[in-house]
Amino acid sequence: MSDITGGLSRNLPATRYTEREVRIWRHFWHTAALTGVLVPLLFLGAIGLGLGGLVEQNQGKVAGFDYLVFVAPGILAATALQAAAGDSLWPVMAGTKWTKAYHAAAATPLSPANVYRGYLTWIGARMMLNATLFMVVATVLGAVPSFWGVLAIPAAALGGLAFAAPLCAYSASQDSDLSFPVIMRVAVMPMFLFSGTFFPVDQLPSGLQVVARFTPLYHAVELCRGCTTGTLGLSAAAVHIGFLGACVAVGSWFGVRTFAAKLAP
C-alpha cells in the first residue's frame, strides 16, 4: 500500500492533493456511502418501479426495454452529473477563497495545475465509488441485463468529469458564488431531466433534440445505457467517449489556466 502511494506521489504529484480529499472523506465515509446507496434506491424505486409499472401497463416497452432497464443507466449518469456539479461549485470556491486550502497547497512543490488535476481525480474516484454502489443496487433490482454493465461504472465517472472539468475551471475564475445557484437551475436541472435520462430524446421537439445531443449528459446516458443493456456498438462508443473526452480536455485546458490565475497571480 505505502509502495503504491509512494510511487504515485513521486510520479503524479497531483495525487498528493487527492490524498487530502481522501483524508477528509475518511471522517464521513459512512454518510457518503449511505447516500450513495439511498439516492439510487429512491430513484429506482419511485421512477424505475413506480412510474415504470405505469409505463408498462400502458405502453409496454421504452426503446425496446423494460422501463426499469431503460431508466436505470439514465439515473446512474444523471446522479453522477449532479454530484459532479455539487463538487465543482462551492467546494472549489472554498478552496480558492473561503478556507484557501488550494493556496496552502500551491505554496508547496505542488503547482496550481497539480491542485486542479488532483481535485478532479478525487471527483472521478468518488463517482466511481458511487456508481459501483448504484450498480450493485440496480443489479439486485434486475435493472442490468448485461455483464457489460460493469463498464457503465467508468462511463458514469467519465460523464461526470466531462461536466466537472469545465465547471471547476469556471468556479476558480469566480470571485463570488452568486452565479452558482443559477448554474444548478439553468444548466444542471434541465440537463438532468431532458438528456435522455427518463425518456428517449426523440420525444423532444426536434430543435431541442439537437440541443440535448450536445450536452455531456446525453452522451454519458447513452454510453451507460449501451453498457448496461449490452447494446453498445463500437462507433457509438467512440462518438460518446470522444465527446466526453473532448469536454474533459477542453475543461482541463481552461482549468489549468484559471487555477494558475487564481492561485499564482
Partner: protein, 312 residues
C-alpha cells in the same frame, strides 16, 4: 548555487505590475543565509507582493530574481520544496485535525508518511500544541493557529522561512510567545524573511531590513544603523490641548532639537539629549499637556523618510 553561497535571495530592479498598477517598483535587495531579514512598511507598500514573488506563487513582471540560486520562472516547484511559507491569512485546513494539517502538508511535499508523522510530533512540541493534536482547527485561539501555521511551514525542514505579517491580529502575550519561537528558529540557523508593519517587531527580530513605501525601498540597514542614520538618539513627544496650541508651539520648539516633526496628535522633537530638551521646553514657557522622552525607533526612521507614520 554553490553550496556555500551566502546569498539566498537576489533581487535586482524587481517589478510586479497588475494591469496598470505597479505593486512593486524596481526593488533591489539580498537576503543572506542565517539572517532575519525584514520588509517594514505600511499596508499597500508592496511587502506581501514581494514575498509572494520570492515564494514563487506570483510571477514577476520585470527585473531579476533568484531564490536559493534558482530561477523562479522555471524552477518554482524546486524552490518551493525548500521553502517554508507562513501566509498573512490563516489558511489552515478547517476540515482536518491539528495533526492531520501537518500530515497532509508534509504529504504535499512528497514526504513518506512515517517521516511526516515523526516530524509532525516534533513540530507539535515546538509549537506547544501537543495537547491539541486531535482537536479540530476552528476552536484554536488566534495565537495557537499562528503557531500551527509556523509549525506547518517547518514540516519540510526548509532552508528559508517566509513569514508575512506573522503576528498581525494577536494579543501581546501571543505575540511574545510567537517571537520567542522565531528566536529559537533563528538560533538554529534558519534564515527568516518577514514582513511587518510593527516597528517593534522589526526592531526585535530583524538583523537587517528594508523599509518599503509605495512599492519602493526607501532605506536599508540594520535597525541600529537605520536609527543612527535617520534619527537622533532620543525623541521628546509633546501633546498639546488643541491643534492651535500645537501649531503655535512648533516654531518655538524648532530651536530646541535637531529636527521637529509635527504629526496628527503630537509634536516630535529629535535630540541627542531628551531630558535636557524637555527641561528647556518647560523653561521656555511652552505648556504641553504631556511630555514623553524615549529612544528613537524605526517608527521615527519611517516618519523621517516618508513624512507619514506607519499606521497611517
Amino acid at each position: 548555487m554553490m553550496p556555500d553561497d551566502p546569498v539566498l535571495v537576489r533581487a535586482k530592479a524587481l517589478t510586479k505590475r497588475f494591469g496598470d498598477y505597479v505593486a512593486v517598483d524596481g526593488v533591489d535587495f539580498q537576503v543572506r543565509r542565517g539572517e532575519v531579514f525584514g520588509f517594514l512598511g505600511p499596508n499597500g507598500a508592496g511587502k506581501t507582493t514581494t514575498m509572494r514573488m520570492i515564494a514563487c506563487v506570483s510571477p514577476f513582471s520585470d527585473g531579476e530574481l533568484s531564490v536559493l540560486g534558482r530561477d523562479p520562472r522555471t524552477q518554482g516547484g524546486e524552490i518551493r520544496a525548500r521553502l517554508g511559507v507562513v501566509p498573512q491569512e490563516d489558511n489552515l485546513d478547517t476540515e482536518l485535525t491539528v495533526f492531520d494539517n501537518l500530515l497532509i502538508y508534509g504529504r504535499y511535499f512528497g514526504m513518506p508518511v512515517a517521516e511526516v508523522r515523526r516530524r509532525a510530533e516534533e513540530l507539535l512540541a515546538f509549537a506547544r500544541l501537543e495537547d491539541r493534536k486531535d482537536s479540530r482547527v476552528d476552536p484554536l485561539s488566534g495565537g495557537m493557529k499562528r503557531r500551527l501555521i509556523i509549525a506547518r511551514s517547518l514540516i519540510n525542514d526548509p532552508e528559508m522561512v517566509l513569514l508575512d505579517e506573522p503576528t498581525t491580529g494577536l494579543d501581546p502575550q501571543a505575540r511574545h510567545m510567537l517571537w520567542e519561537r522565531l528566536y529559537r528558529l533563528k538560533r538554529e540557523g534558519v534564515t527568516l524573511v518577514l514582513t511587518t508593519h510593527y516597528m517593534d517587531e522589526a526592531e526585535q527580530l530583524c538583523d537587517r531590513l528594508v523599509i518599503m513605501d509605495g512599492g519602493q525601498i526607501v532605506a536599508e540597514g540594520s535597525p541600529r544603523e537605520l536609527i543612527e542614520r535617520y534619527a537622533t538618539r532620543e525623541v521628546v513627544e509633546l501633546r498639546f490641548p488643541t491643534p492651535e496650541d500645537q501649531e503655535a508651539a512648533v516654531p518655538r520648539l524648532a530651536a530646541m532639537g535637531e529636527r521637529v516633526e509635527p504629526v496628527a496628535d503630537r509634536v516630535l522633537v529629535y535630540t541627542a539629549d531628551g531630558d535636557g530638551t524637555a527641561a528647556r521646553v518647560h523653561a521656555d514657557g511652552v505648556h504641553p499637556d504631556s511630555v514623553l522622552v524615549r529612544r528613537s525607533s524605526l517608527e521615527d526612521v519611517f516618519l523621517h523618510l516618508t513624512g507619514r507614520t506607519l499606521d497611517e
